[in-house]
Amino acid sequence: MSEFLLEMKNISKSFSGVKALDGIHLQVRRGECVGLCGENGAGKSTLMKVLSAVYPYGTWEGEILWEGHELKASSIRETEKAGIAIIHQELMMVPHLSVAENIFLGSEISNHGFLDYDAMNARAQELLAKLNVHDINPALPVLNYSGGKQQLIEIAKALNKDAKLLILDEPTSALTATEIRTLLDLIKSLKAEGLACVYISHKLEEVAEISDTVTVIRDGTHIATRPIGELTTASIVTMMVGREMKNLYPKEEHAIGEVVLEAHNVSCWDVTNPDRKVVDDVSFKIRKGEILGIAGLVGAGRTELVSTLFGAYPGSHRGSVHLDGREITIRSPRDAVKAGICMVPEDRKRSGILPIIGVGHNMTISVLNRFAAFGLIDEHEELAQIQAEILRLKIKTADPMLPIASLSGGNQQKAVLSKMMLPDPRILILDEPTRGVDVGAKYEIYKLIFALAKAGVAVLMVSSELTEVLGISDRVLVIGEGRLRGDFVNDNLTQEHVLAAALGQSTQMA
C-alpha cells in the first residue's frame, strides 16, 4: 500500500490554449488535512474539478494515483464511488426536498422501487448523530436550515457515500462564527477517525488551525508544499501573492469635496421573511471624490443597503436619499442611472453580464440612446466608443463582438465596470468589485477606482476583503447585523478595529 491516499502528479489543464494548471502536485495521506491556498483564479477549483472528474480523464494531462492505483475516472459518479466527496462553495442542495431525501439523493434506499422513508430518516439521524448534530430533523425540508446546518448535511451526505477524502471548497464563507467553530471541530474529529480532507479557504487562520500540510498554488503553478509548522499566515500570503502586499494598492492622492449623497434612516426587510429586518436604520454621507468602503461580515446587510440606494432591492424598504441636499425618489435602477447613481452588482454572473451578447454590446447597453437617432443605432459611433473603452480598461478580447461569457472573470468584470462608468455617474456603487478576479486585473480595477475618485466621482465600495477595504478607502463604514457599527476615517485603521466593530465589540474610534 502506498504512503499516500491520493497523489496528483504533474497535473496540467488548458482552456482553449490558456494554461489554467501547469504541473501541479498534490499529496494527501490517510487522516491528513491538506490546506490548499491560492488567490482567486490561481487554479484551486480547476484542480478540484480535475480530481472529482468534472473534467474527465483525458481532458487534462498528468497522473492521479488513488490508493496507489491510477485513477481514470470519466464522471463524478466514479470518483464518488472511489470515495472522493466534494463539497462546493455554493451548496448543492434541493431546497424543497427533506434533509434525508437530500442526503440520499442518487443513492435512495428503496423497497421494490418504493422509497423507504423510515429507513432513510433513521439512517440520516444516525449519520447526523455521528457528526454530533442533534437539532436537525431529517424529515423537514432543507430550506428550514441555515447555511451552516446545510454544510453539515452535505458532510453527512458525503459520509453516507463512505467518503475517504473530503474536499471542502470555501466551506465557511457564508457561516456564522459559531457555525465555523462547529465545522472545524467536526473536521478535526473526522480526521482523528481516519478521514482525509483537502481544505480550500481564503481564511488562513482556519487553514492554519486544521491543516497538517499546506500546498500553495499561484497562477496555475505549484509554489510550495510544507508542513504547517514551518509556515505562518504571513508567509502563506507572501507565497500566494508572490509579491509584497503593499504593492497591491496603487494609492493615489485625490481631493475630497462637498457632500453629494446622504442616506437617511435606511431600513430594509428580508424578501422571503418580511418580518426580519436586514438593514436597520442606517444613515451616512458620501462626498465628492471620496472612496467610502463598506465592511462587514457576509449577511450583515451591506448588499441590501446599497441595492436599496440603487432602486434594485426587491423587498420592502424605508428611508430617504438626498442628492446635493435635495431629496430624490428612486424606484428603479433606471431612475438611479438617470440621477447619476450607478451600481456594479455583487453577483457578476447572475446580475452583471449578458452572457451570450458581445463584450462591446454589454458595455454600451446603458447608454445606447447616446448613439441613436429615432431609435436606430449608429453602429459606427458605438464601435468607436467600445474600442476606446477596451483600450482604456485593457480588456483582453480578440473581437469586441465575442460573447462576454467567453472572457475571463477579470475581463468580464472590467466590461461590467465600463458599462456602469459610461453613463458618467456621480456616485458609483461597487459591490464586491474584485470577487473572482485575478491579481493583475484587481490591480487595474483599483487603479480605475482611484482615477474615478480623482475625477470627482463618489465611490461606494462594499467588500468582504478587509485588506482591500483598508487598502483603498478614505473612510470605512462598518455594518454588523444590519446596523451601522462604525464610521472610521481610514487613518491607522487596522483589520482588528474593523472586525471588532463588525462583531459589535467596540464602536469607539474617531
Binding site: R334, R350, S351, G352, I356, I357, I365, A372, G375, E379
Partner: protein
C-alpha cells in the same frame, strides 16, 4: 479537419445550413412528383412555388414577431386564436358593415396591438407567466370569435380586401422592387465595410464580399423571375418580405431590438443596467398582436371570408418555425430570417406531402418528427455540450 471547418462554418452561418435543408426537401419532392410523361415535376413549377410562398406567408408573419417573444424569454400561445378573432372582426366590418378598407385595416391593426399589449402588461407588470396568460388568451379569443360570428362563416368580403390575400403584383412592379432591394443591399454592404475598416475590424476579402453580393443578387433575380413567370409576386409574399425587412432592422439596428436580446440573455442584468425591462416585454407582445392582426386580415382576404376556425393551431406552426430556425428556447438567441426559413420548411413539407396525396395524419406525424430532428441538429451543430 475539413469536417470541423464545415461544422464551424455551418454553426456560424445557420441560415446556410437551413437553406441546404430546404434544398434537400425540394429535391426530394421534385423527384417524387416527377412525371415521366410530361417531363416536369409538379412540385418544381412556378405555379407551385407561388402557392407555397403564399401558404407560408401567414405563418411567416406570425413567426417573425414570435421570434422576438421567444428571444425575450417568453412565449405566446394565443396568436392562433387572436388571428381568428381579428380576421373575424375584419370580415364583419367589411362584409356586414361595409367599412372602407383603410378603416377596417386600421381598426383591426389597432385592436391587435391593444390585445397584444394587454398580454404583455399581464406578463410583464403583473408577473403572470406568459405561458398562462396566453393559454388563457387562446381560449378566450377563440371563444370571442365564435360569439362574434355566431359560429358561421362571414362572406362575401369586398374585392379590395380579397386583393390583399389573393392578388399579384404586376411584373414591372415586381422587377422594380427587386432592383431597389438589391441596390439597398449593395449600399449597405459598402457602408458596413467602410465602417468596419475605419475601426480596424476584420472584414471579408473583397472577393468574398463580391461573391456574397452576386449570390444574393442572383437569388433575388431568380426569385422574381420565377414568380413573374407565373402571375407575379403574390401580395401576401410581398407583405411577408416587408415584415422580414422591418423586423430584421429592429433586431439588428435599433435600441429596442438590442434590449430584446439583452432581456432574453439576462433580464436581471438588463434591469440593473437601467433598462425598463417590463416595457420592453410589453411592447414585444404588442408587436406580436400587431402581426396577428396582419395575419388575420390576410387569412380573411385569402379565404374571402371570415371563418370561426381561422388560425386554429397557428401559434404552434409559428413557434415550430422559430425553433427550426435556430431560436433558442432559453431566450437571447434567434433571427427573423431563420424563423422564416423555418416557416418555409414547414410549408414545403405541407405542400409537398399534400401534392403526393399523403394522408393528413401522416403529414402531422412527419412534421412532428421533423421538428424534433431539426432542433436536435441545431443543438449538435452549435456544439453545446451537455453533461
Amino acid at each position: 479537419m475539413a469536417n470541423i471547418n464545415l461544422r464551424k462554418f455551418l454553426s456560424e452561418n445557420k441560415i446556410v445550413a437551413l437553406l441546404i435543408v430546404v434544398g434537400l426537401i425540394w429535391a426530394l419532392f421534385g423527384y417524387l412528383t416527377y412525371n415521366a410523361d410530361t417531363g416536369v415535376s409538379g412540385f418544381l413549377t412556378a405555379r407551385n412555388f407561388s402557392n407555397l410562398l403564399r401558404q407560408m406567408a401567414i405563418t411567416g408573419i406570425l413567426a417573425a414577431a414570435m421570434v422576438f417573444v421567444i428571444v425575450a424569454g417568453e412565449i405566446d400561445l394565443s396568436v392562433g386564436s387572436l388571428l381568428g378573432l381579428l380576421g373575424g372582426i375584419a370580415a364583419i366590418l367589411d362584409a356586414v358593415y361595409g367599412w372602407p378598407l383603410a378603416g377596417t385595416i386600421s381598426f383591426v391593426l389597432l385592436a391587435g396591438a391593444a390585445l397584444g399589449l394587454m398580454n404583455g402588461w399581464l406578463t410583464a407588470y403583473l408577473g403572470i407567466p406568459s405561458f398562462i396568460v396566453t393559454l388563457g388568451g387562446q381560449l378566450a379569443f377563440r371563444g370571442a370569435v365564435l360569439g362574434l360570428t355566431g359560429g358561421i362563416t362571414i362572406a362575401p368580403v369586398s374585392p379590395s380586401l380579397r386583393y390583399i390575400g389573393q392578388g399579384y403584383l404586376p411584373g414591372w412592379l415586381g422587377n422594380g422592387c427587386a432592383v431597389l432591394l438589391f441596390l439597398v443591399l449593395l449600399v449597405m454592404a459598402f457602408r458596413t465595410r467602410r465602417k468596419r475598416l475605419q475601426h480596424n475590424l476584420r472584414v471579408p476579402t473583397p472577393v468574398m464580399e463580391a461573391v456574397k453580393l452576386v449570390v444574393v443578387g442572383l437569388f433575388i433575380l431568380g426569385f422574381v423571375l420565377v414568380l413573374n413567370s407565373y402571375q407575379g409576386i403574390p401580395v401576401p409574399v410581398l407583405m411577408l418580405l416587408f415584415v422580414l425587412g422591418i423586423f430584421t432592422i429592429i433586431a439588428k439596428g435599433t435600441v429596442f431590438g438590442r434590449y430584446i436580446y439583452a432581456v432574453g440573455s439576462n433580464s436581471e442584468a438588463t434591469r440593473l443596467s437601467g433598462v425598463n425591462v417590463n416595457l420592453v416585454k410589453m411592447v414585444v407582445f404588442g408587436l406580436m398582436g400587431l402581426m396577428a392582426a396582419l395575419a388575420g386580415i390576410t387569412t380573411t382576404a385569402r379565404l374571402a371570408a371570415g371563418t370561426p376556425s381561422a388560425g386554429f393551431g397557428g401559434e404552434l406552426d409559428a413557434i415550430a418555425s422559430c425553433f427550426i430556425g435556430g431560436t433558442s428556447m432559453r431566450g437571447g438567441v434567434g433571427s427573423v430570417i431563420g424563423a422564416l426559413v423555418g416557416a418555409l420548411i414547414m410549408a414545403s413539407l405541407d405542400n409537398g406531402m399534400s401534392m403526393l396525396g399523403v394522408d393528413t395524419f401522416w403529414q402531422q406525424i412527419i412534421k412532428g418528427i421533423i421538428l424534433v430532428i431539426a432542433v436536435y441538429l441545431d443543438i449538435i451543430s452549435s456544439g453545446v455540450k451537455r453533461l
